[in-house]
Amino acid sequence: MSSRVEILNDGGYRSDGRRQYELRDIDIDLSQQGTADGCCTITHGLTQVLVTVFGPKEAKMRSQTLHDRAVINVEMNVLPFSTGERRRRARADRRILELAATIKSTFEPVVQTTLYPRSQIDIFVQVLQQDGGLLHACINATTLALISAGIPMTDFVCAVSGGVHSTSPLLDLTTLEENDLPHMTVAVMPRTGKVTLVALETRLHVDRFADIFRLAGDAGQALHKEMKRAVKSRATRLVGAMETGMKPPMGGADAFERDVVMEDKMSF
């Protein structure tokens, strides 16, 4: 199938003006939403995903609990206006169930569930906008939401998607590129460099696979720096606010109420 738009032109630029190994703009928002224990909205270019985490909390059905660990439940909801054309998806759409199951099994070994036996951790993923790279955006958002909820994890999980156009590897594909090229999503744990998720669904030659695989691993490390920066900045502001609250009030011993308005939104 010939594409009307060039994926990679001779000057080395892609259809949206990026270079070959360039990731899309990242926007991480860790401000609290409602009563969720942890929340994160991540935007990769035009793909926007919101993840809220509740837990660890009492399990709804005792039969679903494990006696020595917490159970992680992931529910995913793709909003009908997230794609170009409005499309309502059934709650139990196979693809959505599969993505939810993938996220669940990705985080089960990373979250220290043995600290919370017989409880459950709920992760709700809302896809607000889709422009390619859905799985890796969901995984990054889930990592940050779990960190923001204070649930102990052994490491970050940073995911990125990669593809290959004839022989040149590309990173962080948009919908246009995903439709045309073989692509895969790789999630790494940056501290050890080990890979925790690989998802390839299109035909790809083994040698090309090795190239993109390594490249995606390195990109995950780069992404880790950005995520760390966002978390650190929020943590610093939180600690700063707590210290402000603990200083003796200026008007004497009466004024204990403190409304601290924080600006959490980080944009790069």
């Binding site: 059934a90 993938t102 889709q130 998802a199 083994v206």
Partner: protein, 312 residues
């Protein structure tokens, strides 16, 4: 996101795996199956550390697949040890959807009933069922196994609709590989009736009048599943048995064909692996796929030689 959305996508059909679209609420799930006892768990890990498997196989040895062909073309039963799956292909002529007038339609219907194992519920599909159904879909349909354009008979009017049905009979570990193998062999085994197009008229010839035609396939993918365990000193095993699957810390499924092309690589969570380890496993999978391909070819040839197709 679907690259293409054929009208009869297995995801859109209600009841594809017993799920009723009217009852969208979650049905009460069956209680979790009892996990293995402590001695079984410890024994499995300690013997795997010594590279011994419970059924006497090597770590990277697959159970020899037994393929039994039925009397009609396109019916095959695949057995990997005690794991058994039946796959069947049939074809009928339909009118294509308006957005794709030049392609045939392939739909995969997989049945994972409690007959295979008491872990499979007939209510809302469990995580394992969803994984197997989606993997089958990715390996057999989305990776373009069958050339859809060859299924077009009369553009915009008549195309072939192939229906691949997969019944899982018994689960003794690694149902996914068995189901993929059964599906792909059934597609190779199947012969569709010959058609003749004169102007706007389409005549379907009965198999006794004209020899049926094999499907035109781009490639033959095989799925190989490796299980790895929480202790890093234990190497991954190929084709896990039921106990190995239950006690594994993660599964890595690789679907590829004999021409060194990867169709699906799925490692969803589980113990993280070093990138070199994954590439090493991919290398092993390439060799195993070649062996499997040879076995399947021999078996198909054997069966075809034993059949007599009468042509008037």
């Amino acid at each position: 996101m679907h690259k293409r959305a054929p009208a009869f996508c297995s995801a859109a059909r209600p009841g594809a795996s017993g799920f009723c679209t009217r009852c969208l609420f979650r049905r009460a799930r069956m209680p979790r199956p009892a996990s293995p006892s402590i001695p079984e768990k410890e024994f499995l890990y300690s013997s795997l550390k010594q590279s011994l498997r419970l059924d006497g196989r090597n770590l990277l040895e697959m159970r020899a697949p037994t393929l039994t062909f039925g009397p009609e073309l396109g019916w095959v039963e695949c057995a990997l040890g005690k794991t058994r799956v039946i796959a069947q292909v049939d074809a009928k002529m339909v009118k294509p959807p308006p957005e794709r007038p030049l392609e045939g339609i392939i739909s995969i219907h997989s049945e994972l009933s409690p007959m295979a194992s008491s872990e499979y519920d007939s209510g809302r599909p469990s995580d394992e069922e969803v994984t197997i159904t989606r993997m089958l879909d990715k390996v057999l349909r989305r990776s373009d196994v069958v050339d859809k354009e060859s299924l077009c008979v009369l553009a915009g009017q008549r195309v072939w609709h192939l229906r691949l049905t997969i019944h899982c009979l018994a689960d003794a570990g690694n149902m996914l590989d068995c189901a993929c193998l059964a599906g792909v062999v059934a597609l190779r085994h199947f012969r569709r009736p010959e058609v003749e197009v004169v102007g706007d008229e389409v005549t379907i010839h009965h198999p006794s009048e004209r020899a049926p035609v094999p499907l035109s396939m781009h490639h033959t993918p095989y799925c190989l599943t490796f299980a790895y365990f929480p202790e890093t000193s234990i190497l991954p095993v190929l084709d896990p048995s039921h106990l190995e699957e239950t006690l594994s810390a993660g599964l890595l499924s690789i679907a590829l064909n004999a021409q060194r092309e990867l169709c699906v690589v799925q490692k969803a969570g589980g113990v993280p692996l070093a990138p070199d380890e994954i590439l090493r496993i991919v290398g092993i999978a390439v060799d195993k796929a070649k062996e499997l391909d040879k076995t399947v070819e021999e078996r198909l040839k054997e069966d075809w030689a034993g059949r007599t197709v009468e042509v008037r």
